[in-house]
């Protein structure tokens, strides 16, 4: 993986730039000691590291604006950072960049139940948004698995999803407004407590733009009342094809479960060894969860059970208590931890049309043999968002590279069958060089044009999302 050469001019001016930042921020909000900037050298994609020039931790929109205006004037690259949980390297610095962390922006500004909104500063963690309203029966729906740590700013940058998207949508569907600072240091308001944009849907455009179009400092989010209850059912099948067909039939029948999770045999075995959830040793396992009052849950589960039985399940286990529900989810929730116990792993994130599930799983199996690395599959089947986990040994010579090549093959396969490279993690640096498999040069040019409008000097997180050679002229002209 390549990153652009840092600007020698910027590196040479480090002392001056740090002083300029200190002029604009409180003393403890600027970090420049190499021992301390090390903490910001990577995000959750830990394979790639690079300490930044400096780190700033502004505590208000005004401070963010002051930093960006200064960096814009001085042509210093800026990399925005939420909580640093990106799996795609979205917050990976370059040596000549200033990391702008939003960790100190974590207040709740307004909670309004009649209008079902909460307004928060963007450094607040995803789970603590729900934490602020759950005593009153409400929650914030997008639930990425890093929700304990990840910041709303990062959720907006990556348009994060989670396990419950089939019913509640992803971040963009639950975001009503933002305060955003442009690279030039201008503060703009997009959306608010009302619905829909007066002109172009700029809010929709900045959500998922990976911190390349502006820095979001505040967000108005949709909160909804918690359902009265929820209950999962576990089903085991003796082939991926049959499990895939069952998912499709459930959706066709008009049931819209809140989650449909799929695990294949390698994943089931690893989770079972780790979490001891009592999973059957089958080829494919589905966990389907429905919500509502008790009678509604029963009505939906009876429909789902009826459909599942037509597919001759090896196992059909409907939860009858909180304890049983927790047990059904226990293995699934431990999936990533279980994999981590066995080996190093790379987690992919391609999305495919649900109908292509059996074919794609079959082909992943073949590729796995070809490359000599095991792949376990666990994913959100309802919306086709796959998470193949490639197991490898980081200490073995060349295995990381083999793993990356296999990963690229799997993602190309996702695109080939009508899907995409990334469903919820973002492109970052990780999938940057695969963009041309999904988009034509004209398709990419249209996206680059958007960045030209928002950040004409290409200073904001500029080495991400697009292949470096596609952006080289723009970055050097800036």
């Amino acid at each position: 993986m390549q990153m652009p050469e840092p600007s020698a001019g910027i590196l040479a001016r480090k002392a001056e730039i740090v002083a300029g930042l200190r002029d604009r921020l409180p003393a403890d909000a600027v970090i420049s000691d190499p021992a301390e900037t090390r903490a910001y050298e990577c995000d959750a994609l830990t394979a790639y590291k690079c300490p930044p020039l400096a780190v700033v931790l502004p505590a208000s929109t005004e401070e963010v604006a002051a930093v960006l205006a200064y960096c814009h004037a001085e042509r210093v690259p800026v990399v925005p950072r939420g909580s640093g949980t990106s799996l795609a390297g979205g917050a990976l610095p370059t040596a000549d960049s200033v990391i702008l962390g939003v960790a100190r922006l974590n207040d709740v500004i307004e909670t309004d139940y009649p209008n079902r909104i909460i307004r928060v500063q963007s450094g607040r963690t995803n789970l603590s948004v729900t934490g602020a309203v759950e005593a009153d029966g409400f929650f914030y729906a997008p639930d990425p698995s890093s929700q304990l740590a990840c910041a709303i700013a990062g959720n907006i940058a990556m348009n994060s999803g989670g396990a419950h998207c089939l019913k509640y949508g992803v971040t963009t569907n639950n975001l009503l407004g933002v305060t955003m600072v442009t690279m030039e240091g201008e503060v703009i308001e997009l959306g608010g407590a009302h619905l829909d944009a007066p002109g172009y849907d700029l809010l929709g455009l900045i959500c998922g733009s990976e911190g390349q179009l502006g820095v979001v400092t505040e967000a108005t989010l949709r909160i909804i009342h918690k359902p009265q209850g929820a209950r999962p059912i576990l089903m085991g099948f003796d082939s991926n094809e049959v499990a895939g067909a069952c998912v499709s039939d459930i959706i066709r029948a008009g049931v819209l479960p809140v989650a449909i999770e799929f695990m294949d045999r390698p994943c089931i075995r690893a989770c079972e060894a780790f979490a001891k959830a009592g999973y059957p040793d089958v080829e494919a396992l589905l966990i389907v969860e429905v919500e509502g009052a008790e009678a509604e849950i029963a009505e939906q589960l009876s429909k789902i059970t009826e459909i599942a039985r037509r597919h001759n399940p090896v196992e059909l286990r409907e939860s009858r208590s909180e304890t049983e529900s927790a047990l059904i989810w226990k293995g699934r929730k431990a999936a990533f931890g279980a994999m981590g116990q066995i080996n190093d792993y790379m987690c992919l994130d391609g999305t495919i049309p649900v109908t292509e599930l059996p074919r794609v799983l079959g082909r992943i199996g073949e590729l796995s043999k070809e490359y000599g690395l095991d792949v376990a599959n666990v994913f959100h089947a309802g919306d086709g968002n796959m998470h193949p986990l490639i197991l490898f040994d980081a200490n073995a010579d060349g295995q990381l590279e083999t793993c990356e090549r296999l990963g690229a093959e799997i993602l190309k396969l996702c695109v080939e069958v009508g899907g995409c490279l990334t469903g919820e993690h973002g492109v970052g640096v990780e999938k940057r060089d695969l963009m041309m498999t999904q988009y034509s040069a004209d398709d990419l040019e249209a996206q680059l044009a958007v960045k030209d409008v928002f950040d004409p000097r290409w200073l904001l997180n500029a080495a991400k999302v697009f292949p470096l050679d596609a952006t080289a002229n723009r970055r050097s002209a800036a």
């Binding site: 209008n115 079902r116 996206q447």
Partner: protein, 381 residues
Amino acid sequence: MRPGSEAELADCVAGLTGPVAVRCGATRAPDAGDLPVLSAAGLSGITLYEPGALTLVAGAGTPMAEIEETLSAEGQMLAFEPMDHRHLTGRDGVPTIGGAVAVNASGPRRIQAGALRDSLLGVRFVDGQGRVIKNGGRVMKNVTGYDLVKLMAGSHGTLGVLSEVAIKVLPAPDARAVLLFNGLTDAEAVEALCAAMGSPFDVTGAAHLPAGVDGDPVTMIRIEGFEGSVALRAKALAAHLVRFGTPEVERDMGRTAAGWAFVRDLKGFTQADAAVWKISVRPSDGPKVGAALRAAQPDVGIVYDWSGGLVWAEWPDTGDLRVHLAGIPGHATLVRAGRGATGAVPRFAPEPAPVARLSEGLRAKFDPRGLFNPGLMTAHV
């Protein structure tokens, strides 16, 4: 100009020498005036429909009726309940999916299921230089690159001409219940709607007509789903809202569908010469909008949808209604100019300078020659 394929459309745009009015079914947009019309209506037909994946892909010119019939045959529907603008515009054209996307046409279900833009998975369009651009795709979760899909939804044909769209569809409900409260004031009604939306009963429609079919105020709250669940939630919701009175509960599928179509298409607005405005505010501010407009113009007709967050005004006046709403955050769009309007009132709310610069920058990139619907979305016509 009515190209029959995407390639023809691209050639057509590349060969343009001056501005055009971009249209599809021509049921929603203002009159083209002197501009030649470039119609995408010829790009018609459903190219992919996978009920098991809740996905449909169609040419921009595909009639809404064709899409709705196809979905209905599989027990599915469009999530966003698009408005049919013909009652308002008096046009006799055929509403198309491309036209709906161009105006982000979202009806009563928007408050629960999201706007059209939330169901839009992918687009193909031709930009102002005649280049075919695709963005998004046909899968529900996709964060690969920038989301130009949202940008195109509601851009009124000013950034490109849509050729194909991919949408997420939903199962159609088996059963429906509509709770009807009679005689509430606007303030009471919106309070009831907000209380309903804030309940766990998954309300899919929340509207208030200060003058219903028989001229009296009626407040409508909709619940949909499987029969057992609907019956249960309707009862629980009535109990939850008991402080607003005892509602009638309408269960007939045909009558309830007609009732919501009446709200969605503004069939209660019958003054053909009046302007029609669409006002988007924080739901609890809806009654403030209603009161301010009535104080300025006693003959105004009002409909509240989206829990009070969407206020429709039938405005018998050619002046700018926005001047009466100062201090209420949100925005107002002129959907139909009234008789005698001079064109001096901007259709779209003027944007603050830094936002307007971004919008103009995007227009300059996507349509550098200023070909598509010039002036339509700029604040100062």
